[in-house]
Amino acid sequence: MPPAFRNPATMRTIHAWLLLLPALAFIAAFTHYPAVNTFIHSFFLDGRGGAPAQFVGLEHYQYLLEDEVFRKALVNNLLFASGTIPLSIGLAMTMAFLVNAGLAGQSVLRLCYFVPTVLPMIAVANIWLFFYTPEYGLLEQIRGALGLAGVNWLGSESTALPCVIAVAVWKDAGFFMIFYLAALQQIPPSLGEAAMLEGASRLYYYRRVVIPLLMPTTLFVLVNATINAFRMVDHLFVLTQGGPNNASSLLLYYIYEVSFKYWDTGYGAALTMVLLGFLALASIGQFGFLDRKVHYR
């Protein structure tokens, strides 16, 4: 046996590497390698019909600046994020307070709030599609009964994006509620008793004691909600296909169209770089959060 293999420290290092190797190989092959390749391919134009790819430098990035559809998808995505994130977090917190308040039938309440989480987005979007359908959809029937004029919810540029936001909020709020519930149950009741002795009002207790104590959870949920806002596009396939006139298109949906409908994967790579940029921003928050979690232990 060579002397190095008799050294226990070396042996432990080799063991560790062997244990890690399979997982690392997969993550490298399907996360790091494609991420790096996205960057490289964003400088190339795909060769058509078997021709080699052609280096075009920053051309794709220059085109980004003039591409109206990209600008629209980007603005939509920012609007989508600024709609879904605060609404779903606010509702999630409200739901957790209500479920945790010892009201009648609280397990049924929790079930109702949580159930959208386990349903496939693509399936529930079909149900929402019917709600939004002009003339005979549920929403229009209600408006018709009230004598209001008809609205083409998904077919008008002004309402398509808000409709898509509503579906996303409905899907995510119950999921985030779970994390708030877990956090609420960690708060000792003695805190409430102490606050009561001090004469704090209910509102004051929630605003100054409970919500600050939920901050780590809010941060965790915030990062997840941000990632979701740039990742969740399934419902667009059913509801609007990004339309009308790209009024509800989001970045990842546009990447899909460019890469797999028009097969311009070079430009698709440049678009993916923009998306990765946003995810990297969210990741800075996440790393800070994970570090703090580890220190608490």
């Binding site: 063991h15 590497w17 244990l19 890690l20 399979p22 997982a23 690392l24 993550i27 092959a29 399907f30 996360t31 790091h32 494609p34 991420a35 390749n37 209500l98 479920v99 945790n100 308040a101 010892g102 009201l103 039938g105 309440l109 949580f114 159930v115 386990v118 349903l119 693509i122 399936a123 529930v124 079909n126 709600f131 029937q141 409905w170 119950g174 779970i178 519930l181 149950q185 009741p189 409430g192 008793e193 009561m196 209910r202 929630y206 740039f230 990742r231 596009v233 399934d234 396939f237 990447i255 890469s259 994967t265 698709g268 998306l275 990765l276 995810l279 969210a282 990741s283 996440q286 790393f287």
Partner: protein, 277 residues
């Protein structure tokens, strides 16, 4: 599950809270309740709500006959099984190394793994499609599953669990002459059971529901999962009546939904556990 809180509302405030809670609950359950109504009644009752409406299973029969849902179901079950078994093996090995070994470069490797939490395979579809095409596995269950086999989330979750297991236990096992893998299998895996269950539920529901990547990488009935099959069915059969599409929608979500209703407690607690670790 909740303890009584001194600040729980009383009197009129409590009535208002209850009303708000139930209004929200009805709003949240409405799409599902509506889908159940439409799917189990003839199509002329899809917007007429009357107790006199007759119940029927015809919509389910029509949907089942119109598209190969049985095949889609088999594909989905194969997919979630493949992904979950891959994840359990790979994540257990990696998590053990990160939790119990000290070696040069550990910090950097762990950071590299965690990168996957942000840059998920979901957004790298263009390049992963290229890879699947290069290795010749396009349009297969394997192609849908490969990018998800090693999960940073699973590694992180299991590493936290393994770290909390006292070292004396594996020292004792080592004295008995157990090898590294035996210690892992006989000591760590059994102690991590609740976390494995939590992770499994989260993983299965994620991959049962996943859509974009399977849509891109499959193009025949041989490999399409339920989500993609449903989309193909409902977008090509737009003329078909609404009740049939709703029945198909329920069939797609059915097995997972029934599983959720039966094991509600475990589901909710698993999602909680997976989130707070």
């Amino acid at each position: 599950m909740s303890q009584t809180n001194i600040y729980d509302s009383r009197g009129l405030a409590r009535v208002l809270d209850t009303a708000a809670a139930w209004t929200l609950a009805v709003l949240w359950a409405l799409p599902l309740l509506y889908a159940v109504w439409t799917a189990f009644h003839p199509s002329e009752f899809s917007t007429r709500f009357t107790l006199a409406a007759p119940l029927t299973l015809d919509n389910f029969r029509a949907a089942w006959d119109a598209a190969p849902f049985a095949r889609y179901l088999v594909n989905t079950v194969l997919l979630v099984t493949l992904v979950l078994s891959g994840q359990l093996v790979l994540c257990t090995l990696a998590a053990y190394a990160f939790a119990k070994y000290d070696f040069p470069g550990k910090g950097i490797l762990f950071a590299l793994v965690l990168m996957q939490l942000m840059i998920m395979p979901d957004v790298l579809v263009v390049e992963n499609y290229r890879t699947m095409s290069a290795i010749g596995v396009l349009d297969s269950t394997l192609a849908i599953g490969l990018p998800y086999m090693a999960s940073a989330f699973g590694i992180f979750l299991l590493r936290q669990t393994f770290k909390s297991i006292p070292k004396e236990l594996d020292e004792a096992a080592a004295v008995e002459g157990a090898s590294t893998l035996q210690i892992l299998w006989k000591v760590y895996v059994p102690l991590g059971k609740p976390v494995y269950l939590a992770y499994a539920l989260v993983s299965v529901s994620y991959h049962w529901n996943n859509f974009l990547w399977p849509l891109i990488v499959t193009n025949t009935t041989n490999s399409r999962p339920l989500t993609v099959g449903l989309q193909v069915f409902s977008s090509t059969e737009q003329g078909v009546d609404w009740s049939i599409i709703t029945a198909a929608t329920l069939m797609t979500s059915g097995p997972l939904l029934i599983g959720f209703l039966l094991f509600q407690r475990q589901f909710v607690q698993s999602f909680m556990r997976a989130g707070i670790k």
